[in-house]
Amino acid sequence: MAAPIAIHLEFGGGAELLFNGTKEHHVTLPNQSEPWDMKQLLVWIQRNLLKERPELFVQGDSVRPGILVLINDADWELMGELDYQLQDQDNVVFISTLHGG
């Protein structure tokens, strides 16, 4: 809980355009007293990684509709969505479905 957490982030489907084109990010979330959850992760991403146009990634508390989130290759709806508590070495993938095929 107090230790910094290493997270592997991936962006796909066009979402990487908002992050300078980089698809993979290895980040370390700093120490804090409560455990990190997805809601805080989104705020952290918006503050530290998002280079432009935040409204294209985040909407309110959650991600913009149309952006899928996978936590360790499972749908985040099965993990509790925003309330999921992050653990060390978790793999979080954000895929934008707004540019189709």
């Binding site: 796909g12 509709p65 996978l70 290759d73 749908d75 709806e77």
Partner: protein
């Protein structure tokens, strides 16, 4: 009810949230990984089976693609089309249960010139795509959109469709194919391209000028998709393919359905969003991915490592209100977040649409739209909605009260002909100081040529294509094949009007 941010905290009970400990609803053994539709959680294995099965079932149920046929896959680079490509590969592989039996080819239209990408960016993307296409082993063609400037007129002519093959012969065709060609599928005669074609800089500029001549993003996107469609059909025809496979997903088609209604294409919804589209006559487009939501496709691609290349389009990173297409996409996606059955409801509605009348192979060219090749829906009857829009357009124009201008243009060509045939009427002299934009006759005036061309063109278009053309500042930038086909049809209808009374009507033929 359909407001996006409305709160429902009191009235609705929240659905039971499926949790990570939930088992797959299908096999009930493995841990669930994906939530499909509203609340069905599948494990990886069952999801893969479900996904693959759906593709086969879609093709098998519709029985449009016959064994041994050459089918061209239109791959734009995005997830849906690459998913379609991987399903085709999967289906053709030797160890597949119920193998697919057609001969595929791949085509990719490079639109970087119209979108404003630099040559280096385009080359980079194309190199990536080329490597991926080569790995599949199918013949592939990478065609820059600039080639649309060189298309022949025949693209817009609907070729006669092949004889109708009823589904009862489908089974016979399959049996025959199995008996005669049991060992392996025929190797394709052509190997596709070996190198990425060069693009001339002036062509790119002409294309960009064309796109920019449409002022609004809505019209630009519409124009771009029309040109892309023409190029796809031309490629399929010239390389000998009889079917075209498009990778539109369920979500995409739901958005397209609502967008089409907003743009005035309601009459053509069945062809725009249905499984098979036979408006070109000899080439039939099919949409095998129309049952997959964008979420399912994205999951499958991620979990099973299907590559895709992200290519920006005209509305990338645009705000919500930039175009009708963009706004509708945002509306449907937002609604889907709160009401997960939105997209499938719209999809079911589109399944119920059918074309009202079957097109016979002898349909007259005048009866189809020049650009989208659907049946013309602009017959102006008294008290029709279309006539009302024309009247209000007339009244809101700032024209003089000269008698020639208040005439409402009708699709019936006989009354219109005398005005446009007579080349000696000078629009400037009749209207005096007025602008010649609305001229219906050719003349020696500066902008009257454009006005005449525009109105000539408009009489050959369906309602929504008219709206797109109306938004363009000048139609002169349209590719040559469109303009010359327009003139050809116009001359034909003039000629037909001139000899009209000597022709036998279809109804007059002996029984």
């Amino acid at each position: 009810m359909c407001q996006v941010l409305e709160e429902y905290s009191d009235e609705l009970e929240s659905a039971a949230v499926p949790s990570v400990s939930k088992k797959c609803v299908k096999c009930k053994e493995a841990r669930a990984a994906v939530v499909i539709r509203a609340g069905d959680a599948y494990c990886r294995g069952c999801f893969k089976d479900y996904f693959i099965h759906k593709f086969r079932a879609m093709l098998g149920k519709n029985r449009v693609i016959f064994p041994g046929e050459k089918v061209l896959l239109a791959v734009s680079g995005g997830p849906s089309s690459f998913s379609m490509l991987s399903q085709v590969q999967e289906g053709l592989s030797q160890n597949a249960h119920k193998k697919l039996r057609f001969i595929p080819g791949i085509v990719h239209i490079d639109e970087g010139g119209a979108v404003g990408q630099s040559m280096e960016e385009r080359q980079r993307t194309l190199a990536e795509l080329q490597a991926l296409f080569r790995a599949t082993g199918f013949p592939f063609y990478i065609i820059p959109l600039e080639q649309v400037l060189d298309l022949p007129n025949s693209v817009l002519a609907s070729a006669p469709s092949p004889a109708e093959q009823p589904s009862s012969t489908y089974k016979a065709a399959v049996d025959h194919f199995l008996q005669s060609n049991h060992s392996s599928c025929a190797t394709p005669q052509d190997q596709g391209q070996t190198s990425i074609p060069e693009v001339q800089e002036p062509h790119t500029q002409i294309l960009q000028q064309l796109i920019i001549s449409a002022k609004m993003l809505t019209a630009r996107q519409d124009l771009l998709s029309t040109l892309r469609q023409h190029l796809l059909v031309h490629t399929a025809r010239s390389k000998g393919y009889s079917k075209l496979m498009l990778g539109d997903s369920c979500t995409r088609l739901a958005v397209k359905l609502l967008t089409s209604i907003s743009l005035g294409r309601g009459a053509h919804l069945a062809q725009d969003t249905g499984f098979s589209d036979s408006r070109y006559g000899d080439i039939i487009s099919v949409r095998p991915m129309r049952d997959y939501s964008a979420k399912e496709i994205a999951y499958y691609n991620h979990l099973f490592h299907v590559p895709s290349v992200f290519i920006p389009s005209l509305d990338t990173k645009m705000p919500d209100k930039a175009s009708v297409q963009r706004l509708t996409e945002s509306f449907v996606t937002n609604l889907q977040a709160d009401f997960p059955s939105t997209v499938s409801t719209i999809y079911r509605t589109s399944e119920k649409l059918h074309t009202a009348c079957e097109r016979s192979s002898t349909v007259d060219h005048r009866d189809t739209c020049l650009l989208c090749m659907c049946a013309l829906d602009t017959a102006v009857e008294n008290a029709s909605a279309f006539q009302a829009t024309l009247i209000s357009e007339q009244l809101s124009q700032n024209t003089s009260s000269s008698a020639t201008r208040t005439k409402i243009p009708t699709r019936k060509l006989a009354p219109v002909e005398p005005e446009s045939v007579a080349p000696t009427v000078q629009c400037c002299s009749s209207g005096g100081r007025e602008d010649c934009g609305r001229a219906e006759s050719g003349g020696g005036c500066c902008s009257s040529a454009n006005g005449a061309e525009t109105s000539n063109l408009r009489s050959l278009l369906c309602y929504s294509c008219q709206l797109t053309i109306k938004d363009m500042s000048t139609v002169g930038h349209l590719p040559q094949y469109i303009l010359s086909e327009a003139q050809r049809r116009h001359r034909r209808s003039q000629m037909k009007a001139a000899i009209g009374e000597f022709l036998l009507e279809d109804g007059d033929e002996g029984v």
